[in-house]
Amino acid sequence: MISITLLKRDIKTCIKPFLLVFAVICMYTVIIVYMYDPDFAEMLEEYQQKMPEVMAAMGMTGIASSLIEWMQIYLYGFIMMLFPLIFIIVMVQKLVMGYIDSGSMANLLATGNSRGEIICTQAFSAVLWMVLLMGAVTVAGIFSGMWLFPGELNVERYLILNISTLFLQLVVAGISFLCACVCSEARHYYTVGAGLPLLFFLMQMISNMGEKLENLKYFTIYTLLPADKIAAGKGCMIQNLVLLFLAMVLFGSGIWWFQRRDLGI
């Protein structure tokens, strides 16, 4: 059901944005771990007091009593959400939308590979890239923890946190993927496929600021990643299952729709 030739091509087209996003996340991860230091910690806590709304919007609230909580507060509210989102938007554009928008999907379909094979290959690529990204980030996080503060990082919780984050990002990728499979023009894809995840993300940021707007959290998928609870060692099996289910439905619908749609190519 998968074309190896196309998969190799996918690696070439996505490697640059992948490395770029990975480098940025990696840099932030190392910096944040590095700042897990009483002096810096005081500074960041000061920020929390001086501009509570801004820090809250980025999910940067609370006092960390361990490195994992520290990382969760300063990485998983903003950086680990926004940068993977940017990667997803670019990646799905390259894997699916670009082929449809430019018409070069015609080349792929005129080779005797079925629509199912083509689109399943692209879905597989998308999932693979997300696994690679989160895997590489996890390795970078563990290493920087071991290097800067040996023995401080709770690796098990860090792994669980990153697995849940991966599931969440797969749902985001699923939204973009489904949109790319439905849309005929890139601008529609950007409006919905990129706009909807961004909207969810903004809702999350606003609901973080508390008060009445807190109820917005019931309308955004980002609520399904209770990062603070995971860092505190609480389970999130139900959320994980919901995320996985959503991701499968989104990717499955995209694949199904692509096989029956009209392509103006």
């Binding site: 074309s3 030739t5 196309l6 091509r9 070439k12 087209t13 430019s102 018409g103 070069s104 015609a106 080349n107 792929l108 379909l109 005129a110 080779t111 005797g112 590979n113 079925s114 629509r115 094979e117 009209d262 392509l263 103006g264 190519i265």
Partner: protein, 237 residues
């Protein structure tokens, strides 16, 4: 001879009179079939249905008895296609693209590809997006013919080619015809249609207005074409 391509009462209505309406014709195996019509007559819509990119609203579209939409992959394994609007991946060189397509088509040998490149004097080393229109067209032609297809669908194959290359293209079509390849040729270059096609269909406003057997009578295709073209103009008045 059996039918290679068969359309029966195919309708695809895009509104505003665009599309094709109750279109029926057949192309026999080994035939070179010309497909003419003014711009916007529905030629590309017909081709998209043959390629399985879009589905007819009603009627059926078949190649060698297989449904063009549902069995597109089986058809495409033995079909060559040259699009009217060529689009290539921007970052690839001509050779990289052709190799990529050959691999996707499951080709084991590149001999035919090399032969065709030589024949059209294609230098495949440069990036495709920097190539001239004519050179891009050559890449498209090599891509359409390199896997020895049984049927070939060509949408304005010689646009951008110089007269010498056009001539070589006509020769290629005649060779393929001898081999028994079925070809559907959309073109505005009436001369090459007359030189290669056994029969020619003329499409206007999504409807077939004539199917002429050009080998029977040496009639002037240009006159014929203008005749149908002008008729449309008169109707508008």
């Amino acid at each position: 001879m059996s039918d290679a391509i068969e359309l029966q009462h195919v309708t695809k209505d895009y509104g505003d009179g665009k599309g094709v309406f109750d279109l029926s014709f057949t192309v026999k195996e080994g035939e070179v079939f010309g497909y003419l019509g003014p711009n916007g007559a529905g030629k590309t819509t017909t081709i998209r249905q043959l390629m399985g990119f879009i589905r007819p609203q009603s009627g059926s579209c078949q190649i060698f008895g297989m449904d063009c939409f549902r069995q597109a992959d089986q058809i495409q394994r033995r079909n060559g296609y040259l699009a009217g609007e060529l689009t290539f991946p921007e970052d690839m060189t001509g050779r990289q693209f052709l190799k990529f397509m050959a691999d996707l088509k499951g080709l084991k040998k590149y001999a035919r590809m090399e032969e065709l490149m030589e024949r059209f004097e294609l230098d495949p080393r440069g990036k495709i997006h920097k190539m001239s229109k004519g050179t891009k067209q050559k890449v498209g032609i090599v891509n359409a013919f390199m896997h020895e297809p049984r049927t070939i669908i060509l949408d304005e194959p010689t646009s951008g080619l110089d007269p010498l290359m056009r001539n070589r293209f006509v020769k290629l079509i005649l060779e393929e015809k001898k081999k028994g390849t079925t070809i559907l040729l959309c073109s505005h270059i009436l001369e090459e249609v007359q030189k290669t096609c056994d029969r020619t269909a003329i499409l206007r406003a999504g409807k077939l207005v004539a199917v002429e057997n050009l080998s029977d009578k040496r009639q002037n295709l240009e006159e014929l074409f203008l005749h149908f073209y002008e008729e449309e103009g008169e109707e508008e008045k």
